[in-house]
Symmetry: C2
DNA sequence: CGCGATCTTGAACACGGTCAACTGACGTGG
DNA sequence: CCACGTCAGTTGACCGTGTTCAAGATCGCG
């Protein structure tokens, strides 16, 4: 728990700030504690006070928002290295719920601590603004996709986007885990489980993807790109 | 241009920071200059360097994002008092385009100036984080609406949401200008112009809204709420 | 007055949702 | 060890919402 772990922290969004790096003095750590979440366990829930920001070391989470009277919609998936709970900087009340999709390890960073640090290190404050601005941009792109793309475009774009995110973490753009249920993918893309299943079945039939226990492999990235951009269709 | 204007600045998102307040020393102003935009003119465009943040004094803008190969989608509408161009804090390149829907007056705030000020005034930095976090939350809610709501729910929710935003600015929740074309509303809600027109026609036929040259009046807020939440339907 | 842009309305179609049946994997208990 | 229940996923048939295409209506403005 003291000292940075090789690999694990390399692509963490909080790396520029994290005190753990290279020190063994627990008292100097930015991270209050390491939390472990079991599959299905909530990291935070909408409506609860937002006191901390979380950096995910391992595992994936889904972040969802519920509107009165409809099923919760997943606004984003959190991969290792991502932050969750940045809405702590809003009204100090979480507007979203984050649930672990598998066993997860997260660093809990008290918001007051982070804010204090921001006052002393302008670069950190700027970094945080950058992360926030990036999240806004991502949300806008997602909304645009929901508003304008067909089911198969959304699914293809989703897979390609995941690949991109994994490469940014030192993984492969074409082979990565897919720890989501069909329903969860649908809740993220504004589709039903059945539609997601149908599209994935077609992609498999075309051998553009292969699904296995370890995740998914994108075998025809270019074809998927054509599909996502609308140049090609899944007749 | 020096000194705050009564009313105009009262509900500005930058009010806690704005140097104009109560001073006549032009050199102490946070605002670099006041820009006037004609209808249709762009405040900034996607891909261009993001050097400033803008506070809108009067007029409304549309902020849109384009994905390759499809028509631009409007991610939000900017009302007087709102900020535009907060994505300046991301990669220093605008990811969106902002276009005036009518004659607009905006305060241009250089990003470097704002950042400098943030270092000296932690409260301002926190305020900015709050604005950013709020924008994330709004974008998530919008995405959830696009993913899960029917056409009439979206339109009703859009009108109610606009009313809310106008009340926050000291206006009326039930009578406000509607300077958007059908097509623009559709581009925002993920619908076609025709569908927006049909829904609005039905709302007019039910006398739940009245449209005039001055804008729109919501005559049956409760009915609209029921529609937006899905309890009622526009048969 | 006449042109163009916006808005409206209608009719046919297609995409994705809904409902339902079936499969296969996994875990529990007889 | 197999029977059973459960749950995720698959696949099919049907249907409804919203899109598409097309024809007018309305309004602003030269």
């Amino acid at each position: 728990m003291n000292g940075v772990e090789a690999g694990l922290c390399d692509s963490c969004a909080m790396r520029p700030a994290c005190y753990m790096r290279g020190t063994h003095r627990a008292v100097r750590t930015l991270v209050e504690r390491l939390r472990t979440l079991a599959r299905g366990e909530a990291l935070f829930e909408a409506g609860s006070p937002a006191l901390s920001v979380f950096a995910v070391r391992s595992g994936t989470l889904k972040v969802s928002i519920s509107r009165a009277g409809c099923t919760p919609r997943i606004v984003r998936f959190v991969l290792p290295g991502d932050l969750a709970g940045l809405d702590a900087f809003g009204d100090r009340i979480h507007s979203t719920t984050a649930v672990a999709l598998e066993e997860c390890e997260v660093c809990e960073i008290p918001a007051w601590h982070l804010e204090l640090l921001c006052q002393m290190r302008p670069a950190l404050a700027a970094h945080l603004r950058r992360l926030l601005a990036h999240e806004v941009g991502d949300a806008y792109l997602h909304a645009a996709a929901l508003a304008g793309l067909s089911a198969s475009q959304r699914v293809a774009g989703f897979l390609l986007g995941l690949g991109q995110r994994w490469t940014a973490r030192g993984g492969s753009a074409s082979r990565f885990p897919l720890p989501f249920e069909r329903r969860e993918i649908g809740d993220h893309l504004g589709l039903t489980m059945e539609t997601v299943s149908r599209v994935l079945s077609l992609l498999r039939a075309r051998a553009w993807i292969v699904e296995g226990p370890a995740g998914v492999e994108l075998c025809a990235i270019e074809a998927l790109r054509g599909l996502a951009s609308g140049e090609a269709k899944l007749a």
